[in-house]
């Protein structure tokens, strides 16, 4: 089967997390023939590619290397001296995809020399150095390694940890393809460690954005301290509020109707903006409760509840107090009506 001319095409962005998308990226420019010829019925293009005998894969590479302009990266790879190992053949096929990925960043030139050195030297991890720290790197990082060809038990043991990583980052691929930067050690252990550290740093960034005032702090230790303080303060706040709740309501006698009616302000705070607010009138309580139950997880449209002119001035007054917190203003607005309700129920 002649796959020439179609193998070299791809453009599609930083996908490549799955084999199907890998395949699609392969033939994005090439049209549907490729897709038809190598249908990803067994879960992806790479497995289909694996089924190719090695010679065909090489032919693929070489033929594609002479094709379109976009195959310059492939060309550089085609020049590589691939040993006749079938394992490496398939890997080379994958490399081409990786290279096509790199086409996006345009950082391909650095691949060739180090790839040659690394391919024979490191069977276990595909290291494609000289990659920038863009998202593309991470994208390529998630290239999958054919787990079937793993010979090193060391790698396998680590592969399981990598499986966890990739399973959370990449649902289909069992292994994480780590890309080593240029000039860094390509030792498998350090690579894994680097990947792990990058993961942790990514999550640390996430946490930094979450916790106010953390982005200015330098150093992971201080950031972590800040995060811990934040969590502790939140937990203490919960405790304080529960104490206040306990004192406010002496009998834990929360009548769901009244609470819901008072809570409707908070519950609909997304829609609120001065729209109709739920009034804590008893005749409306049942309706709102039922309607609320029907729409538990959706945003309830407030328009169907009648708007009482009485509420408007109250709310308007309260809104001035706290613009930053819509929610509180709403609650305060309704609170004036609510205590009456509560007293009635209690």
């Amino acid at each position: 089967m002649d796959l020439s001319g179609r193998f070299g095409v791809r453009s599609g962005g930083g996908l490549l997390f799955r084999e199907e998308t890998a395949l699609e990226s392969l033939h994005l420019g090439g049209g549907d023939e490729f897709r038809q010829m190598v249908p990803p019925e067994n879960g992806g293009g790479f497995t289909a590619l694996l089924e190719l005998p090695p010679t065909q894969a090489v032919e693929l590479l070489h033929s594609s290397s002479s094709s379109s302009s976009q195959a310059t990266s492939l060309h550089t790879l085609g020049v590589l001296a691939f040993p006749s190992n079938s394992v490496l053949m398939e890997r080379a096929a994958r490399f081409s995809v990786i290279a096509t990925e790199n086409q996006q960043t345009g950082n391909v030139s650095g691949e060739t020399p180090t790839t040659t050195s690394s391919v024979p030297s490191n069977e276990h991890i595909k290291t494609e150095p000289a990659e920038t720290e863009t998202s593309d790197q991470a994208a390529v990082e998630k290239q999958n390694n054919r787990c079937g060809k793993r010979k090193d038990f060391d790698k396998k043991a680590k592969g399981s940890s990598k499986k966890n990583k990739s399973s959370e980052e990449n649902e289909k691929l069992p292994y994480v393809h780590v890309r080593a930067r240029r000039g860094q050690a390509t030792d498998s252990h350090s690579l894994a460690e680097r990947a792990r550290r990058e993961k942790i740093n990514a999550r640390m960034k996430l946490l930094q954005e979450l916790v106010p005032g953390c982005d200015k702090i330098q150093g992971t230790a201080l950031v972590l301290d800040e995060i811990i303080n934040h969590v502790q303060s939140l937990q203490r706040q919960v405790e304080m509020l529960s104490m206040r709740l306990a004192s406010v309501n002496p009998r834990i006698d929360f009548n769901l109707d009244t609470i819901l009616s008072s809570e409707n302000g908070s519950l609909m705070d997304g829609n609120f903006n001065g729209a109709a607010m739920q009034l804590a009138w008893p005749h409306q309580v049942m309706e709102t409760e039922q309607s609320y139950h029907h729409r538990q997880l959706q945003q309830p449209p407030p328009q169907q509840w009648p708007f009482d002119g009485l509420n408007q001035p109250v709310w308007g007054r309260e809104e001035d107090q706290d613009h930053g917190n819509d929610h509180n203003s709403l609650m305060v607005g309704s609170a004036s009506l609510h205590p009456n309700q509560v007293k009635m129920e209690l």
Binding site: A202, L206, L245, Q296
Partner: protein, 156 residues
């Protein structure tokens, strides 16, 4: 890495979900003890606090998150018996010999975080951070809900 954001999902539901769960739990609380209202304030406080955490765990997605599962497990266990799971250290593997893997400073902080976040004893550090992010979001949401409830109920 901007890429990392794409796959770490730390969405929490809207405030009303939290509010609903909290109120339901509170009403359950009141129905549980219809006749014997605890006179001691500390009991009440503890109950409310427990209700807050349990409802938060439910609202955030019971089984989606490790911390919520651990929290609910802990709460359920407390009713029946007092059981503390020994902390399993998944990290104690053969990888230990690579001493440079674990940054000691970060590990100390991670240890403290494990004490704070429910269910944190068994997670690897990266997973712990993910859980912490989600936990922080849920906690702040819960705090907002409770604050509004208190404001609404407190006499003017």
């Amino acid at each position: 890495m901007a890429f990392a954001e794409n796959h770490i999902n730390t969405d929490v539901p809207e405030k009303d979900v939290f509010a609903l769960h909290f109120l339901q739990t509170l009403s359950n609380l009141s129905t549980q003890n219809p006749f014997s209202s605890p006179d001691k304030k500390s009991d009440r406080v503890k109950k409310i606090k427990k209700a807050a955490y349990v409802s938060m765990a439910r609202a955030a997605g019971c089984t989606d998150r490790l911390w919520s599962r651990a929290l609910l497990q802990r709460a359920a266990k407390r009713n029946n018996k007092i059981v503390r799971f020994p902390r399993r250290r998944k990290r104690v593997t053969w990888l230990r010999r690579r001493s440079n893997r674990r940054d000691p400073v970060e590990e100390a902080a991670a240890e403290r975080l494990r004490n704070l976040v429910p269910g944190g004893g068994e997670m690897k550090t990266s997973k712990l951070m993910e859980e912490t992010a989600h936990y922080i979001k849920c906690l702040s949401m819960q705090v907002k809900v409770m604050q509004c409830l208190v404001d609404g109920l407190s006499p003017k």
